[in-house]
Each structure stands twice: as structure tokens, then as C-alpha cells.
Amino acid sequence: MARSVMKMFYLALGAVALIGGAAIWMARGGSGGSEGVTSVSSAALASVGEYEGYVEGSDSAPVEVVEFADFQCPACARFTILSGSDIRTGLVERGLARWRFHDFPLPNHQHAIPAHHAAACADEQGQFWAMHDQLFFNQGRWARDSRPTRRFREYAQAIGLDVDRFEACMESDRYRARIEAGKNEAVALGINSTPSFLIGDIVVAGALPYDSIKTLVEKAAARAAR
């Protein structure tokens, strides 16, 4: 076969690889560094305070990280499973950052709102983070269950909640409006994927490894200290 034809073929193959690779790289949402990081206007930032979410860590921590997550999002679960423990011990417990969980149930996840509601009901009994972990670590089970609320009941029992009170809360559906409001606030902020993180005045998307979160927190702390 003519050498020139083969050369053209390899060039075309390289171009396909390059374009495809670039498309995947752009889809990753900056999970490795500063790519995908966007600044947020101060007006938009001011509106975040209206929805409190769930907070872990000291009020005096120099940086607050707001995590916009969906309990049924696989990447969010993977983030919590892989990085959650390191974040707690390395950043939150050391007083370097305060962590705020912001509900962002995606519309294409049919069990997301009940799951977020279960976490809100656990919060009534001071166990939001325990339920948070149960939901993420067991996501593969309840997410494909046709009746996930029975699983949530099991998790409530496992973390020592008053199950009757938990069930009454779930039946009341009283946190749905708040969860929806939290989602709308995230959309208004320009968040369009989960998990996304607001760290200081920047938003970064993707299931970031712990080291990336730590670096961004350190940079935000340095900016805040100036």
C-alpha cells in the first residue's frame, strides 16, 4: 500500500484521537486542577446564604466549602466514598475548612428527592451526616429499588434514629419545598452538574480527589488572608 496513503490514514487516526480525547478532557469538569474553575459574582454569592444546607466544622474556619450534590448521583457517591473521610480528618476536624452540604437533586434521578428528604428527616434527630454516609455508601442498592423508602427506614434504624419519628417525617413530605428551593438556588448560581463545589469565590465541578480540594482550600485561605 502506498506510503502516502498510510501517512494520511495515520494522520486522520491521530486527529480522531485528539478530538475525542479533547472532548473527554473537557467533559471531566476540571477534576485535576484549575481547569473548569469559574468565578462567581458577589451578587450571586450573596444569595447562597439564604439556603443554609447542612454544616460540619467550625464557624471560625477560614474557608467554607459548599458541596452541591445529589444523593443519587454516582459521581457524588464516589467522591464521598473516596475523599469524604480524608476531607473530614484533614480539613474539617483540623479547622481548615467548614463543609456545607447543599441539596441539588437532579431531575433525571427519580429517587433523589426522597433520598434528600430522608437526610433532612435524619437531621431533625441530629444525624444528617450519618444518613448522608448511609445514602452514598449504599447508593447502588436503594437507587435501583422500586421502593427506596423501605431502605431509608433500614438506614434510619442502623444509625440509631427514632424510626417512628423518622417515618412520620418522611410521610409529611415537609422538607420537599426546602429541597426544591435549594436546587433552584444552585441553578441560579450557575451550577449545572454534580458534584460541584463553591470554594471561597470559585466554583469547580467534578468528583475531585482530596488533594485537589485541599489545594483549592489552601488557595482560598491565602486569598482570604490578603
Binding site: 467533559a27 437532579l106 431531575p107 434521578h109 454534580t194 468528583a207
Partner: protein, 149 residues
């Protein structure tokens, strides 16, 4: 060998699709670009992992092997041999059988369609068709060469 070139190109596209799904499953991507949201239903199902590995991982390996074999088959030493054509036919046949099983699961068990999985199914089907044509062409060439001797 136009067939092997076509298979190499299709395998590369399949490799990119499988890599995208695999990286998403590993949590390196945010929201999967799917349109209907059914990609996540499929990827979250009990059938999304085999032997502890995401199904997309097997796609990455399969397409990578097809790509390497087709590229090796284009080298001067191998270009006139039937071996690479046979290997491509067998490998793509295995890939197609695996894909048919996954498509059956989507249609009748999970009852949701992952568009990227359908793109991958179309690619492996196309590879199998091209590999079949390529193998038959190689067989004819080999017979003609023997006849000339």
C-alpha cells in the same frame, strides 16, 4: 488493506466512547451527557459491573485490542497474511455477542436505553461486518496466491 483501516478507525471511536463511560463510572466526570438520563439508569443497574469492574472497562480493553490488532495487521510484515483478519473476525464476533447480551438486558431487564451503549453497539456491529468482509477477501487472496503457485 482498507478493511483493517476501517476497523482501526471504528475501534478508536469505540475506544473513546467506552473510555468516556468508564471515566464517568469512576467518578472523574460530572453529569453524563446522555439526553434522556437513561444512561445513569443503565450504569446504576445491577448489570453495570462484571467481576467487580464496570462494563465500560471491558469495552475499553476490547476496543484497544481491536485497535492494536488492526494496526499490527497494517504493517508490511502482516498486511498480506490472513492471521490478523481471522483475529479481528473472532474478536469482533466475541464483542458483538457480548454487546447483544448487554442490549438484551437494556431492552428486557433494565428497560432503559443508554444512548452511548447503543452507539457502542452500532460500532461493534459495523466492525464485525467489516471484519467478515475483510476475512472473506483475505481468504480469496490466499486461495488465489496458492493457485498461482
Amino acid at each position: 488493506m482498507i478493511h483493517r483501516m476501517a476497523i482501526a478507525t471504528l475501534s478508536l471511536v469505540g475506544l473513546l466512547v467506552a473510555t468516556y463511560l468508564w471515566l464517568w463510572k469512576l467518578g472523574f466526570l460530572g453529569v453524563i451527557v446522555c439526553g434522556s438520563g437513561a444512561c445513569e439508569t443503565v450504569q446504576l443497574s445491577a448489570y453495570a459491573e462484571i467481576l467487580g469492574q464496570p462494563v465500560a472497562f471491558y469495552g475499553v480493553v476490547g476496543y484497544l485490542v481491536l485497535l492494536v490488532v488492526s494496526l499490527v495487521g497494517l504493517q508490511p510484515r502482516w498486511v498480506d497474511r490472513i492471521g490478523p483478519s481471522l483475529a479481528l473476525l473472532v474478536l469482533s464476533g466475541g464483542g458483538l455477542a457480548f454487546t447483544l447480551y448487554l442490549t438484551y438486558l437494556e431492552a428486557f431487564v433494565i428497560r432503559a436505553w443508554c444512548r452511548w451503549c447503543l452507539v457502542s453497539a452500532a460500532i461493534i456491529l459495523a466492525i464485525f461486518v467489516v471484519a467478515t468482509i475483510g476475512y472473506r477477501a483475505s481468504t480469496r487472496n490466499t486461495s488465489a496466491t496458492h493457485a498461482e503457485r
